[in-house]
Symmetry: C2
Subunit: 347 residues, 2 copies
């Protein structure tokens, strides 16, 4: 999740004399506000803040209950807003978080990132960086309504003069049903594909595949859910910054139309106690992916001083592990497993 991935790279013990980009941005924002001429850092921050508000407002309409809003600041610059709805009418647990982080990358982190970003200077002890993103996980109560996850993020490093050096975007969204309704998976993928196609016809197939590969409980040979898109390290070698920002904006804007129709048609469907139990087992698989395989979670939890409650907000309220559970032959539960073992093309 966003908040976390970033915090891993922060080493607060490294200090420099020059004004930081955090300080510069703070002055810029106060004196000029934010416009299309502002640095991407401020534009991304403004964009995710607006979308967090909009998403939270729409989800409150669906649920009928209000989110709790936690605002936190980082002494070195930046901070975050965690919006959480727990044990609501529709959502068992829903979290919509943004984080904006200014800090310094220590050398080992730089060397790791250089694999994908050659612009990073290999000859410095540390580099100033900026990271911001919106992260969301929604776990509905109704076992017929799917869980959804989304994360879009922007990362940037600065040289010693405070000028942008390397930058990139990452993110994606994916759907995790306990009971598969083909029409839901098709609608979700179609909406995302339309957002991708506006920018590059190759994006959807490429990022859909990446998603199936990433959100994979390899130890069980099952994807986490029916996928969506996933991408990382999109930088100047891919497209120019304006084009990629516009792509990420369209992806994030596609979220509400991709999910709201699904949750609205599933949230009040009658279900059985057996279906609820199956959902709980699938929640267990979700926990397995996030704690065993998800890189952001792993790195976050290794970071001293990380905000653990924001990192683990992605976990469901309740989960279950049952020894040797196997669905009945020909059941809907078995069909879901077949699709998770052999990811399908939905569009």
């Amino acid at each position: 999740l966003g908040a976390i991935v970033y915090s891993m790279y922060t080493d607060d013990t490294i200090k420099t004399e020059a004004p930081t980009i955090a300080e510069k941005d703070s002055i810029l924002k106060r004196e000029n506000g934010i416009s299309e001429q502002s640095p991407m850092r401020l534009r991304m921050e403004q964009f995710i803040k607006q979308h967090q508000k909009q998403i939270v407002a729409e989800l409150e309409k669906v649920d009928g209950q209000r989110f709790i809003v936690d605002t936190w600041e980082r002494p070195e610059g930046g901070g975050g807003i965690s919006c959480v709805l727990q044990d609501g009418n529709v959502f068992e647990k829903a979290g919509v978080n943004i984080s904006v982080v200014y800090g310094r990358l220590p050398r080992p982190a730089i060397m790791k990132m250089r694999a994908n970003h050659k612009a990073l200077d290999p000859d410095v002890e540390s580099l100033e960086f900026f990271a911001s993103g919106l992260s969301m996980v929604l776990h509905p109560k109704n076992p017929l309504a799917p869980t959804v996850h989304l994360n879009y993020r922007y990362f940037e490093t600065a040289d010693e003069q405070g000028n942008t050096n390397a930058w990139w975007y990452g993110g994606g969204c994916d759907l995790t049903p306990s009971y598969l309704f083909d029409e839901d998976a098709i609608h979700f993928h179609k909406t995302i594909k339309a957002a991708c196609d506006k920018h590059d016809k190759a994006y959807y197939p490429r990022f859909k595949k990446w998603c199936d590969q990433y959100f994979n409980n390899t130890h069980r040979g099952e994807t986490r859910g029916v996928g969506g898109i996933f991408f990382d390290d999109l930088d100047h070698t891919e497209k120019d910054q304006e084009q990629l920002f516009s792509f990420v904006q369209d992806c994030l804007s596609a979220f509400l139309p991709s999910y709201i129709p699904i949750i609205n048609r599933r949230k009040d469907m009658p279900f059985t106690e057996e279906q609820k139990q199956w959902q709980q087992l699938r929640r267990g698989r979700y926990v397995e992916f996030n704690l065993v395989h998800d890189r952001g979670t792993a790195f976050g939890l290794q970071t001293p001083g990380a905000r653990v409650e924001s990192i683990l907000m992605s976990l469901p309220l309740t989960a279950r592990w049952q020894y040797m559970h196997a669905p009945e032959k020909g059941s809907r539960e078995e069909r879901l497993l077949e699709v998770l073992k052999n990811p399908r093309e939905w569009v």
Copy 2:
């Protein structure tokens, strides 16, 4: 967990011409039975099988329900017995597993193990090995009754002539209450300490500390529970094989007297819905440790073809994650957290 740690090292693609130790042991067992003159492999196998039966029988008396017994074999030699009781009267989930594994260690695993075992030949492509152990996790239903975990294992490698090369013991046991009764923690630690003291007065303090360090949710700054003992890599540089085997036998034999009195006095105590919820949150922490930090689980899940259901049998039937949960000031829940943040000396 035993079953798992071992399977990681197995590379079934490597074949040799000479008779394997699995084949030799099979003949030895058939022709001579098992006595004090038998190889340690066979004596350890016999010992953990006997104890599995005894422990399962005693736990069935406590619960009133029977364990399900799953027996599995490995084509290369060895196999395991998984005894599981799920949704019983006293236990939400109880697993008592043994595994006996013969296989070949690939070079990367040898190089890793050489850090602690210099006898391992660094100049071979692979080495034959044997591993056996008993693993157990009991999650009671009553939130006032503690979860307990135990694992004792023996590992051995053979040279090309099938003679024992390196060997070592590992294991331990630890108690994880949701509600802390000092008398339970004291009884548990006292019983283990007595078993340790028979062999070496330095063992209990040394292995108690190791346990607090190992079973630690470092991302939360909390130990998993109130500890017990943990040790690994005990070989000829520690004591001779007979002495260590005798030590491990006494440790395992101490389990029933260390835990049965505790479960018997807690299993029927009245409890509230709030206490059950707190137990569910603590179950979540248990899942976090096992999936994020436990080395055996991590390696097991990375092993192609590992028996995932045996590895994850350690997870509770149900668990819960609640955003920003904090116990009330001065409550029993808060006192538990204080003890987990600052491990105590119980004896």
